[in-house]
Symmetry: C2
Subunit: 632 residues, 2 copies
């Protein structure tokens, strides 16, 4: 990510001249929402439009009266009908990842259960077969994935091992006599847990198991295991417990799976990077267990991209509904409730943030599509950090949207409430957010160690106050970058000091690890700071790339993003001496001025137009309060 960061820093410098040229206009902003939507849609415009059009089908209209089992059946039927359209193929996972991602992204606008059921089937199961399998597996399974005759599951997580994938206990022992692997669950904690799609419908599963060949342990490998036969009956040795109702996402049938010495043909181990000969000789292009493990779990990246994307798109939906309603809803006379600063402060920073995340995700998708080996680390870090930031940001944005709509936000027909319930899972699945932020911090700590980095210089306070709240992009970007560097430095120094006090390599490593754990609160903040620095720099690049007519509004949003994140981290900056009390007042004034620009004009204000720029079609927006609250 550091190369991109440097590029971004250059752009900041270029843009700072432009953005510093005088205080922002106090007149309202005008936004052509159609042009904005075109600018925002980076890829596969026609495909997205076709899927949105298809989703007009009555089958995709919400029904919140039904019980759980009916909802699951409805979700299966929805997926079947979608799959029947052949908008894309699971083979696009490797050949055209942006098309693959675009098609799946569209589904969350109809229903998150549908999106997740499709995601598990196509991305986690199908994608794993596409990426870790070879021609044999592609021919045997991918057609059945594409037409849903083989509904797929992803058997990685175990009851006892969620974040600790390396610690899974399911075993796969090669039996050279029969040329089969024996897949076995040695104890209850090793049962596969939370396996989406396995409760009722799944027929195949990509099972992660510790491989032993000739008595030699080779680490986690992946096997395609048949769960149910064509008629849906469980296969011998497979036991599945339906996990029943969840907080939301009840269209997905999660299950828990035990394998009792289930025999799998030798050919059904996914062998793109490692294989076992009929005679029982193991070979791999990757020598070490830990490096092989990295390859096995590397396939989770696309899943994280989709979860981040879902969080961002969910925020778009909720914001479009809440901002439109707030600008139209009056009480105590003719005053729209959007005129209250409490409403503005809850809706507008998330609007800016959602634009920032949308653009950051666009950058991430372009890295994924470019498939350069040199980008692997940047992709890992950005997909981890953005998944965490986007989903935590969504939790907060949706709760604020729901509250800003009052009781209307709680009414299911207005969509925000049920959506936030369904999506609540996204902060912990596909990698717990706290763990995801640690991944970002670890990468930065490694980079700093490699570069023998030192503590950054503290920016002089007063810069924001001196500019009367109109600080330039260079100053804002510099402050965001400073926080990342200062926090990394603080954690690194504490780890180094702890190691210094210990004797011997093992004790030093343990002391350093303990210091990392002691600072986990800061470590998570490192992740946030890193995402903020990246997203702001990347946002400025998008402002520059945008058609001139869109630049003023995008620049205002970028500024609001930076201002609101600086306000959020105010305690850090004040304690560090990088911002003063006067700077804080300048930030508050800058935010108020931006709120004014974005909301001037009531129902025709820039904030509404910017939400329309997200391009959610009316038939997928659905919520009556997004149209005319008086006619609900």
């Amino acid at each position: 990510m550091s190369a991109n960061t440097e590029v971004a820093a250059e752009r900041v410098a270029v843009l700072s001249r432009q953005l510093c040229a005088g205080s922002p206009t106090t007149t309202s902003l005008t936004v052509d929402s159609k042009a904005m939507r075109e600018f925002m849609t980076h890829d596969n415009r026609q495909l997205r439009d076709a899927i949105f059009e298809f989703l007009k089908d009555d089958l995709y209209r919400p029904n919140l009266y039904q019980g759980l089992m009916d909802f699951r059946e409805q979700t299966l039927q929805r997926l079947k009908k979608f799959v029947g359209q052949r908008f894309f193929s699971v083979r696009d996972y490797t050949s055209d990842p942006r098309r693959f991602i675009a098609a799946l992204e569209c589904l969350m606008y109809a229903d998150y259960s549908l999106a997740i059921k499709a995601g598990v089937h196509f991305t986690l199961c199908g994608g794993t077969i596409a990426k870790l399998g070879t021609a044999y597996h592609h021919n045997k399974y991918l057609p059945g994935v594409d037409d849903l005759s083989l509904p797929g599951c992803f058997g990685m997580t175990e009851l006892g091992h969620g974040s600790n994938v390396m610690g899974i206990e399911t075993t796969a022992v090669y039996d050279a006599n029969t040329r089969e692997f024996v897949i076995h669950t040695p104890n209850d904690e090793a049962s596969k847990y939370w396996i989406g799609g396995s409760g009722q419908h799944g027929k195949i599963c990509t099972v992660f198991a510790q491989l032993t060949v000739n008595g030699q342990w080779q680490g986690p490998h992946v096997f395609v295991v048949r769960l149910r036969d064509d008629a849906g009956r469980l296969m011998p040795g497979v036991r599945i417990q339906d996990q029943g109702p969840k907080m939301g996402l009840n269209g997905v049938d999660n299950g828990r799976i035990w394998f009792d010495h289930v025999r799998v043909p030798r050919e059904d181990m996914l062998d793109a990077f490692a294989s076992v000969s009929p005679e029982g000789v193991y070979s791999s292009s990757i020598p070490s267990v830990s490096a092989r493990f990295g390859t096995v779990v590397g396939g989770l990246t696309t899943g994280r991209v989709l979860i981040a994307s879902g969080g961002i798109d969910g925020a778009k939906l909720a914001l479009t509904i809440a901002v439109r309603y707030s600008c139209a809803r009056t009480q105590f006379g003719d005053r729209p409730i959007m005129e209250y600063v409490t409403q503005q402060a809850r809706l507008l920073p998330p609007l800016a943030q959602t634009y920032a995340y949308h653009f950051a995700l666009g950058h991430l998708k372009s890295l994924v599509a470019a498939k350069k080996a040199s980008d692997a680390k940047a992709i890992h870090v950005l997909s981890s950090g953005l998944k965490a930031a986007a989903t935590w940001g969504r939790v907060e944005a949706m709760q604020d949207c729901r509250e800003c709509c009052g009781g209307m936000g709680f009414l299911a027909v207005n969509k925000i409430g049920p959506l936030m319930t369904d999506m609540n899972v996204d902060v912990t699945f596909e990698g717990d957010n706290t763990v995801m932020m640690q991944q970002v911090a670890r990468a930065l700590l490694e980079e700093r160690a490699a570069a023998r980095g030192t503590a950054p210089a503290t920016p002089a306070p007063g810069a924001l106050a001196a500019l009367g709240g109109t600080a330039c992009a260079r100053t804002l970007g510099g402050l965001l970058a400073y926080r990342e560097a200062a926090l990394v430095s603080q954690v690194a120094d504490d780890m180094a000091a702890a190691a210094t006090r210990a004797d011997g390599a093992a004790a030093k490593a343990a002391a350093s690890a303990a210091a990392f754990d002691r600072n986990l609160d800061l470590v998570v903040q490192v992740g946030w700071a890193s995402m903020e620095k990246f997203c702001y720099a990347n946002f400025l690049k998008e402002v520059e790339r945008a058609p001139p007519s869109l630049q003023p509004a995008l620049a205002a949003l970028a500024r609001l993003y930076a201002v609101s994140r600086l306000q959020r981290a105010a305690a850090f900056y004040l304690a560090a001496g990088a911002l003063s009390r006067a700077d804080m007042a300048a930030l508050r004034a800058a935010a108020a001025e931006l709120y004014g620009q974005l909301t001037a004009g009531g129902p025709r204000c820039a904030a509404v137009a910017l939400c329309d720029g997200f391009g959610v079609p009316d038939h997928l927006l659905q919520a009556p309060i997004a149209f005319d609250w008086r006619k609900i």
Copy 2:
């Protein structure tokens, strides 16, 4: 509240000696959870135990497979069976409010839909008849409330008028010829909206309407209107639209009601404070429309007490589950996940906060029970502020609990997820939280104006750092009090300055009101600061009142409450110069030390015992992960 505040300040002074005597012990704390439960249960112990025992009935076991209509029917049957036990009477609303509140508080442990359906029926409808009605109404309606033969609704809110109750448009015109009131909905925005219990089951409704007698408008009054006959058929002129599915709380049948010139006998106006003679002469013991309005809506206080209580009890449930699980759940070896500071920082401050709110609510209930006219303002302010703080606190605490349990927190059987979905409504109903916090701030601004208050002196920074993180209660309480005073001062000064710049009384009032609105972000912070100051001072009184064996743990929780709230408001204190960078480090160290004390001992640590002190019976805790996650 100021009198109580002074008392509290004295206590702080007394306790500060005790708490300042040396740094807190670094050994782990021991807590007798049975003794704690006894200390925590301020009233009606036997009644609570009897209701908890009754709730062992299978009818009260969750069923999350069923559809919406079945759930509503189940909720009605649950309420009927509960009512059949006659644990209390609606007449307790006025004669023994603590018994009334205690009985209803117990229901949320079984199901929040049941609690809210009961709350609307007994508190909002029944309580309004008990308080604003006289013997005629009590005899005619209360027996039917007690035995649920007359399921009741509360017809206050209208589509166009939620927070603005004074602005409701439903009319009640007295017709002296027939000695009836004509209740009418003049337009769609005046339809009664969000009326709990009206969608399917309600038979009577306390309807708020603007009264006109002899062409003279008298402001909002309350009428008991029959919605459905004994067989459940709608009465003539009454139109009800079922509001359908909600985000949660789907056991409650909300509806929208229109009245088309519905005639109500003269006697059915609730006439405790105002009446209309048969001939059409209006008379009231309260002369002004606005004072009468205060009386009419004053009955909402008990509802707010119950909503606050629900939020606090909901947090108890979620914390008991999440803390127990976190102390038992291991991953990456034998280390319980509670050992991670990220887990501690998310679960332990809410634990301390829940104790603080529980005690504050106990104080509020004692004020309500004492029924002193001189406490009216304190009750209004505390019920408003605590409702907002407790429910916003609950949102955050439950989300953290849910995330700290990973996917387990999303599984319905573990209770946290469905509960947070059902309860999400509490931040906006019975008064939107933002509006509630404004009520607190307005009261403080009035007090300050009456006392001709000036800006408070800023505490000198460095006090926390000098004490090495073991600052005394006096210092902590002083800092919390300072924030309230400084923020009130800031808003008041801005309002005064704006008024000074305007000419004429009307313009001055308008300028002052505009300044208030401009500072709404600070106004909400005033509400928070005020609740924190009160809750901490009140907590210290409880520490003093507690049996000596419980004092160390309670003192640690009180300290953690103060420390975590100071950390939360760090930017304010740093900007004001009341805390330094070294103070912030001292707060972080103090928090880490408290985390260590509370979590030492794994599954037998103080944090678990303190959760057990909440006294949630196992059969209402239900969640398997609260017992043995390996055996889920």
